[in-house]
Symmetry: D3
Subunit: 237 residues, 6 copies
Amino acid sequence: MRPSKRAPDEMRPVSFERGVARYAEGSCLVKFGNTHVLCAATLEDKPPPWLRGQGRGWVTAEYAMLPRATHTRTRRESSSGKPSGRTQEIQRLIGRSLRAVTNLPALGERQIVVDCDVIQADGGTRTASITGAWLALHDCFQWMRSRSIIKDNPLRDHVAAVSCGVCNGEAVIDLDYAEDSTAETDANFVITGAGGLVEVQATAEVAVFSEDNLGSMLTLARGGIDKLVQLQKAALA
Amino acid sequence: MRPSKRAPDEMRPVSFERGVARYAEGSCLVKFGNTHVLCAATLEDKPPPWLRGQGRGWVTAEYAMLPRATHTRTRRESSSGKPSGRTQEIQRLIGRSLRAVTNLPALGERQIVVDCDVIQADGGTRTASITGAWLALHDCFQWMRSRSIIKDNPLRDHVAAVSCGVCNGEAVIDLDYAEDSTAETDANFVITGAGGLVEVQATAEVAVFSEDNLGSMLTLARGGIDKLVQLQKAALA
Amino acid sequence: MRPSKRAPDEMRPVSFERGVARYAEGSCLVKFGNTHVLCAATLEDKPPPWLRGQGRGWVTAEYAMLPRATHTRTRRESSSGKPSGRTQEIQRLIGRSLRAVTNLPALGERQIVVDCDVIQADGGTRTASITGAWLALHDCFQWMRSRSIIKDNPLRDHVAAVSCGVCNGEAVIDLDYAEDSTAETDANFVITGAGGLVEVQATAEVAVFSEDNLGSMLTLARGGIDKLVQLQKAALA
Amino acid sequence: MRPSKRAPDEMRPVSFERGVARYAEGSCLVKFGNTHVLCAATLEDKPPPWLRGQGRGWVTAEYAMLPRATHTRTRRESSSGKPSGRTQEIQRLIGRSLRAVTNLPALGERQIVVDCDVIQADGGTRTASITGAWLALHDCFQWMRSRSIIKDNPLRDHVAAVSCGVCNGEAVIDLDYAEDSTAETDANFVITGAGGLVEVQATAEVAVFSEDNLGSMLTLARGGIDKLVQLQKAALA
Amino acid sequence: MRPSKRAPDEMRPVSFERGVARYAEGSCLVKFGNTHVLCAATLEDKPPPWLRGQGRGWVTAEYAMLPRATHTRTRRESSSGKPSGRTQEIQRLIGRSLRAVTNLPALGERQIVVDCDVIQADGGTRTASITGAWLALHDCFQWMRSRSIIKDNPLRDHVAAVSCGVCNGEAVIDLDYAEDSTAETDANFVITGAGGLVEVQATAEVAVFSEDNLGSMLTLARGGIDKLVQLQKAALA
Amino acid sequence: MRPSKRAPDEMRPVSFERGVARYAEGSCLVKFGNTHVLCAATLEDKPPPWLRGQGRGWVTAEYAMLPRATHTRTRRESSSGKPSGRTQEIQRLIGRSLRAVTNLPALGERQIVVDCDVIQADGGTRTASITGAWLALHDCFQWMRSRSIIKDNPLRDHVAAVSCGVCNGEAVIDLDYAEDSTAETDANFVITGAGGLVEVQATAEVAVFSEDNLGSMLTLARGGIDKLVQLQKAALA
């Protein structure tokens, strides 16, 4: 039995609230159960310096947690000098995931920065961030098209993400904090609407895992991503 | 006429939502119009190192803005190494204001950290922070009393804050961003429920100001603080 | 009785020594009793980057203390990475005060940096800095005019500053370190030669203060500023 | 055809030279073709602070590249303030991989730091690092046992790593720099001697990938790891 | 002919003013011509951490320049994060020079920090610093003996320093800024009262130098140090 | 008797291995006994910013040690924020030494960076670095000439370096770590092929030294440099 009484293939309730950040070109408050992330997309007129003059744009992400998003207070990264390795790893993952479904030349020489700020954290903050950031990016592109900044939608597909794990030998989906901290194996999957794999990361936390474990987690993830993409579509409707 | 069509002594709509941060010992989402601040109080078992062994506690605050709280995106302070001078000035002001109404010996050798994170910024973020932080601190103390960690409420009084300014020669209260950026003089007042002054800061932005200007602003501030304290009381009821 | 035996409205002996920094375009060693600050103005050919092309100049200040300016040695800020919040707060205050009496367009696209280095500290270092920095700035402008870099004097008025406090319930002026550390309320006033208020900052240190307290301190400050402006004029004669 | 003319399942020549660092408790110079990494294990008498008093030890890793290990010179991280996100991600991966085969309680309250310094880089530096670090760790444990610091060998198994990729639609193993920079998908596998999966990381660089791609890469990786473990054994013989 | 019209073996006018820092345990304002350095010695009750429990004390130095000590303004090191390499090199040199004539066990488990702050710089700031710091240290030890903190004077001898150079092929002493920036060779000598060499540093700036050059500079330095030690003695009389 | 049983004028075995860094324009692995330094020269197309437009090039150096180059592990400088003062002092010394024999205008508006990374440290790392860096620089210039980037060899002479010391009152050459840590005086000499002095640095570590000591060390250094230059020539043959 999972600590949350959920079935192995049962995700937490997921919701999206678009347009929550008054000043952002696109925004979305995404909730995976008690994990709440505010995603806000900003249009910048210039691409990053290393991309100048190449006729392409860029999509990047920044990630942070409010100090009291967590059970015990976490120290602000502004006090410790620089984003931690974990933070940088997550923001690179979000950026790569969004770029995998974006037609960068169609964006022109511009950059979109998607800020993912965790308001409340109960496991799965990076997967919720990716899934919500896609909606913020979508709305930013819509805003740009409505102002004729770009003509075509640079988004080629949906992208969503979910975590899986092996707990007591069984594969489960969408771990909350309590489950995550005891999982034997921890994995994150980023998958497009068409089912293409963007990122697979599986890590032995307590014990090594088998190909069967990896397969079971991937099957669960596919099911979860299907639901998340349906919910993204519903949020846009 | 003010840009917001408000009367000179008219504050923006103010609201408080208590208990918004699931894991914090006390929390409050405060809104002064489009300025929204999430205040979360954390109990720490130890006082700061320089206060050890003196039989007293401490109350401190940290302040930050989400990057896209503002009209244009603001760079994260974690990328630039250290909180800016403005940030440090604001967090010291919030801390001093809360300590002015706290009986620190009654708190015991503990520290309360109140995080004030600006979700959306439209002027007056520091005054909204102080006013909301008082409720988060109140609820943290209540949480401690309900668990018999302390016996008496260390709060001696309410404290609230409001900004005033001189615009086109006239004193006005609770400036939003548009008004603040054109004000000739900018002031912040922190006042207790009993009317004691905790902090008066008035700065000539465009032109010097007179004692009459200072007096008019102080009168407006007293009226505003009275309303804010009423609203704090209503939120507790 | 004040620890220094001074009357409530009696400032410490004040002196100005112009031209003390051989290489600076303007300089002044200011003494408020045992508080000694070396102020040196530097002309820079370019305005700060964010002001380029606007046909205006800028005046800014930097502030620091020698490690052994104080009773016990203070750690150098170069060892701790960045100026402290207090340092930044003070240097912004000095800069704002000087700009309040400077005609920035008359300065052209240039910047003046006034360095205020505290050689010895006995309370009131920020007010002494402002008062002495005005002379350094004056002499820098004179230097520029004598070389026909500018035609008119960009200074519109004098500016000076003094601290006040409430000690044992009574308002007093120009607190030294011993008095400052026991004051109930601490205030700084920056006022122009014509009597315009530039900055009023009053803070409850031990107990809240009343409007009467604020009024008494302001009256004392006006008297002190009058004397400081007379002394600035005498130093120029 | 691969740029290096190798067959899809053909790794580069691999060699291990043990004992190259005169002062280290264990060391190994590992070469995967033109990728050369110097791994040096250091025994520290104390575990990291957060592990004190728990009767267990810790194994951690640090990773860096000489500035001219690469085709064009890379800036030293000591000039830029802190290890980059990529560096931190790699050193955490090496550490996790080594801990997956280490009996931490058997190590006692001590820490082993394995430094992996890339002398020359031609792709696959993290996989070469893991594979060579295992030998350095092995020799460090042997050194400790020969001095009776520990009684039993804390190593439970071999661990080795290899990269795979999808290039022109085909899965290939052990990519060098030229191949890596054009691969559609990039993956790293860390596997134990007994075949348990420790880490699977697959990333779409240019195009999304399929489950078949993932399966083919995993099959190649298993073959490569078998060879690497044989070579580790030969190096110990 | 030297730019300053001095003879090759002629130093600039040198003066020492003791007791200039009101709060320091020992202090001296030293002038070598237009180079002015304020040296202040601070007694700290504890030795540096790495010396604890060894029954010895330590003498160290910190060095800095006021921003406008120089012809053009120098950026504060507090803005750039850490003392520069040049600053660290100089403060280590001052510390070594003072320790060379100090009986560290006689000092007990204490540390003396001598701050050397350059008020005005015209070449030779490090040699003036060493020569003045010796007097500040002397007076600090005297202060300690007068309070019976130590019994015997830990100073074993005088120490002083002077720069020499080769300009137009000729050896000269005590270079000012104008001469220093055109010298072919630049050297610093630290010598004790008894004539023992503490430090010899000679650097080819424009052209290599010969043993004869080195010998001539050393001869000049001996003469200069003799005068400096006489002046130190006169300042103590 | 020296700890290494060497005669006072006997250096450790010295070797040079050219071309060890596959990607560098010039490289050399230099060994002075157990001190091993990898020197790699990189050609950069631009001079440093402050030299632009002056028709001259620049040669600079960076220096670092692998963490386990030393008997006990040394912390990486990338973890501590900035190169230490010692590191900066050494890299400036290497740069000055190489520039002393380089015709900078002949190099054109380019920069050569020579990285000196200490693989193993047993005393004398800075002198080995200089001596090996000369070969890396030589080969870099040869590489440039073979590609017609420059026409003439900018090198005007050889340069090499060696340490000397006074141990038990006797001058000795090329100290290893054991000898260095007990030497009374420590010195480094940088000398050209033609015998010109580039740098003389002698420091009293335990006791002051005499002119005789300095002379004896210089005589030993001359003999050692002669041998080193012969070995550089042999390595080029």
